[in-house]
């Protein structure tokens, strides 16, 4: 069924804004033409530009994953040989991490929603926002060109001296692509921080901010502190490769481990750039579909900040076997485990929010629940890997591969998909079919687990990562994994089809199809160009699903406009 009535009406919650008379002017129809998109400074349109471009890279990265899994169905290297295989997994990682996961939620959903959620007309720097998309696109073109000319084979980690002295693939080209794209990430983070500080509507105090905004604030902090470090690392890598100066080359007195320190100083916090926004999405979804305020709002908000801060002190847990001292390893091991605390605070608070909530099983909620389960598995195996002894045993095996796919695919992409399903009616003004979206969510969940759970076992049994061939006894689990990947791939196609379908044929969405609370649901779907017809004044906290908001006869008491600092 595709009817509007599929979405829960929740008549108990009056829609604060009357349905706008058709046709009304909104951000999608106030101007037409390619130039109106490519020169737009509207954060909502820029979010759409990002949506299209990250989807392109998701498709590319996914296509490479398909070939990888196909190759691994048999123990021999029959589809591709080592050389091509190395390029495949390298480019898969680069595309997925730098060009899909890092920009996905912040640049699409964050870009679209943060100004609306805080009651602003736009981000603080609309031109810089557009610039960030162009920078992203240019970096993407570099990388895409490198892919067409054969790609690199160093692994997405670019470890020296393999990347600086030995490989014959275009490392500098791809590194330049990542360098350029990094600035788009920096500009997005900068824009979010200034926007959240300076653009909040009257009455929108820090502790009335939706948790989505809090988690994006924490993400932005990581973006501006971490990304410049990968930028300088790439410059050094390029200098080393082009001029042979020896900064990472032991023959000339350099230190290859320094590269790993630099690389992981950014790339570990980058994992939190991917997962924190997804956590923000999940907080919104859990509240909306249990009709309850998020349990321990302050703790969840500060847990985001804590993850961002702690995330900068754990990087060397990627280097336990790289020759760092045992003392350093022990300290980084302990610090890494600390990250589990704020992560667990979040998981416990979400589950506590579920308790006695009136839960509805809408599609976004399915993704949110999937996130909690998969993130927990990914997180707990992360604690295992932070343990020195276990890490040395399973280092560079499929256990690690499974672990980070549980975090990145099971966590970040589940959150992204959940958010996309939750806000799709707001973004496009259209509803998607309820039945098919649930089928899609379940297919993805099933496919994901069948793909990656066997990899935990494979890794524990000792199958190393990054090889195109393996001993016969690993075949059964590998075939399972490949079969799961097929299901997972189909699962991703289902939403792609009905999302595109819904843009033309979907029923029009009301301003608040979920009956949820939040400024984004107080404006029309899709929102007008400047987001609100009247500048909002906020007199309630986030997620106040209770009586005073429900009964129109009891309007919320007129409150003095709070000073926003």
């Amino acid at each position: 069924m595709t009817a509007h009535s599929d979405f829960p009406a929740h008549s108990a919650f009056p829609e604060p804004i009357e349905e706008a008379p058709e046709p009304y002017e909104h951000y999608l129809n106030h101007k037409y033409g390619l130039a109106s998109w490519l020169l737009t400074r509207d954060h909502k349109r820029i979010a759409i530009l990002y949506l299209i471009s990250v989807s392109f890279f998701f498709l590319l990265g996914g296509a490479m994953a398909v070939i990888i899994r196909l190759e691994l169905t048999t123990p021999e290297g029959d589809l591709v040989q080592a050389d091509i295989y190395n390029r495949l997994f390298t480019m898969h990682g680069i595309m997925m991490i730098f060009f899909f996961l890092i920009p996905s939620i912040p640049s699409v959903l964050g870009n679209f929603l943060i100004p609306i959620m805080i009651g602003a007309k736009d981000l603080a720097f609309p031109k810089i926002n557009l610039l960030s998309w162009y920078i992203y696109a240019i970096g993407g073109l570099f990388t895409f060109y490198a892919l067409l000319t054969g790609g690199v084979d160093t692994g997405w980690t670019f470890y020296a001296p393999l990347s600086t002295g030995y490989t014959n693939t275009p490392v500098v080209l791809v590194a330049l692509g990542i360098f350029i794209t990094g600035f788009s990430s920096i500009l997005t983070g900068l824009n979010f921080i200034v926007t959240i500080h300076r653009m909040r509507a009257p009455g929108m105090t820090w502790f009335r901010l939706p948790l989505f905004v809090w988690s994006h604030y924490a993400t932005s902090v990581i973006m501006i502190l971490g990304t410049p470090v990968i930028a300088i690392t790439i410059l050094l890598l390029g200098a080393e490769r082009i001029f042979g100066v020896g900064i990472f080359d032991p023959k000339l007195g350099g230190d290859p481990v320094l590269f790993q320190h630099f690389f992981w100083f950014y790339s570990h916090p980058a994992v939190y750039i991917m997962i924190l926004p997804a956590m923000g999405v999940v907080s919104e979804l859990i509240a909306a579909f249990t009709r309850k305020p998020v349990f321990g709002y302050h703790f969840v908000a500060f847990a985001s900040i804590a993850i961002a801060v702690l995330g900068f002190f754990v990087w060397a847990h990627h280097m336990f076997v790289a020759g760092i001292s045992v003392y350093a390893a022990a300290i980084f091991s302990a610090l890494s485990m600390l990250v589990a605390i704020p992560s667990a605070v979040k998981v416990f608070n979400w589950t506590t929010t579920l308790y006695k909530g009136s839960i509805s099983w809408d599609t976004p909620m399915l993704y949110a629940l999937g996130f909690i389960g998969l993130f927990t598995i990914g997180g707990l195996t992360g604690v295992m890997l932070a343990t020195l002894g276990i890490d040395i045993h399973v280092h560079d095996t499929y256990f690690v591969v499974a672990h980070f796919h549980y975090i990145m695919v099971g966590g970040a992409i589940m959150g992204y998909m959940g958010g996309l399903h939750y806000w799709w009616p707001k973004i496009t003004g259209k509803l998607y079919p309820k039945f098919w979206s649930k089928v899609g969510a379940l297919t993805i969940f099933l496919g994901f687990n069948v793909t990656f759970f066997p990899q935990f076992i494979l890794g524990y049994l000792g199958m190393p990562r990054r090889y195109h061939a393996y001993p016969n006894e690993f075949q059964v689990l590998n075939v399972m994994s490949s079969a799961g990947a097929t299901v997972l791939g189909l699962g991703y196609l289902i939403p792609a089809v009905y999302f595109i379908w819904s843009m033309r044929y979907g029923k029009d969405a009301s301003a608040n199809p979920w009956g949820a609370i939040g400024l984004e649901w107080e404006t029309t779907s899709p929102p007008p160009v400047e987001n609100f017809d009247k500048p909002p004044v906020v007199t309630w906290g986030a997620y106040e699903y209770h009586e005073s908001r429900v009964q129109p006869s009891l309007p919320p008491p007129k409150q003095e406009v709070m000073r926003v600092t």
């Binding site: 501006i224 690392t233 900064i247 630099f262 500048p535 406009v561 000073r563």
Partner: protein
Amino acid sequence: MSPEAHSTAIGPRGVAAAHGSTEQGHTGAHPPRLAHHFDSYAQQRESASLGVWVFLVTEIMFFGGLFTAYILYRSKYPEAFIAGSHQLDVMLGTINTAVLICSSLTMAMAVRSAQLGRSKAIAGFLVATIVLGSVFLGIKATEYHHKWVEHLIPGHDFHLEIDHLPTHHGKPVASELPSGVVGESRADVPLPSAGPQDIQAHTQLFFFLYFGMTGLHAVHMIIGVGLLVWLIRPSLRGMFDGNNHNYVEGIGLYWHFVDIVWIFLFPLLYLVGRHG
């Protein structure tokens, strides 16, 4: 900063908007030079200023990578770093430091003039800053040229004359280092002390960092000079006043940051081992 700036600082929209219109006395829909998504000059100003500060944080992290590499290799190869440092021209470095500090003064004067809305003064101070910045870059270019002539550019042609190795009271400086700097057993067990070949390689590392750090700094200077040139026209047109001086202030902050980077680079690169 004008007094209104403080009274409306980051105020809530309603209040700030009211101030915006009184500050302005403008009756139109939206005051000039106030972007559509801001409610008041104060909000616009505060956003711009915070934006620049956040940007400078990213710059600190960016340079931070090079400083980390410097710390690591200097503690690993102190002799080579001293040898390399002795190849640099302290006199030119000192002059450049003075030039840059003066340029920061003129930049600060330009920002002050912008806050007061004195168009000609802004332009004058901007020109002074541009001249000083260009003098700095000119001296830097001369230094680079000397290094080129002396084969001190890292790469194939790098060659450090061994008799350039610094001495102190007739002894090589390296032997004067306190034991424990390089290896704990330095005093009793003669470590395979850095031979001439190693000194060559490690000094090359110093020069790579020298060119990397000062080069990146110079790129920032060039961008800064470009921004200042770009500022002259709008300031002569009277675009800047108490309400709207974000560009001058933001570029000023950037200029001071680049100045401060040099304040760190100068002692690290030029003055190593000259304390004896």
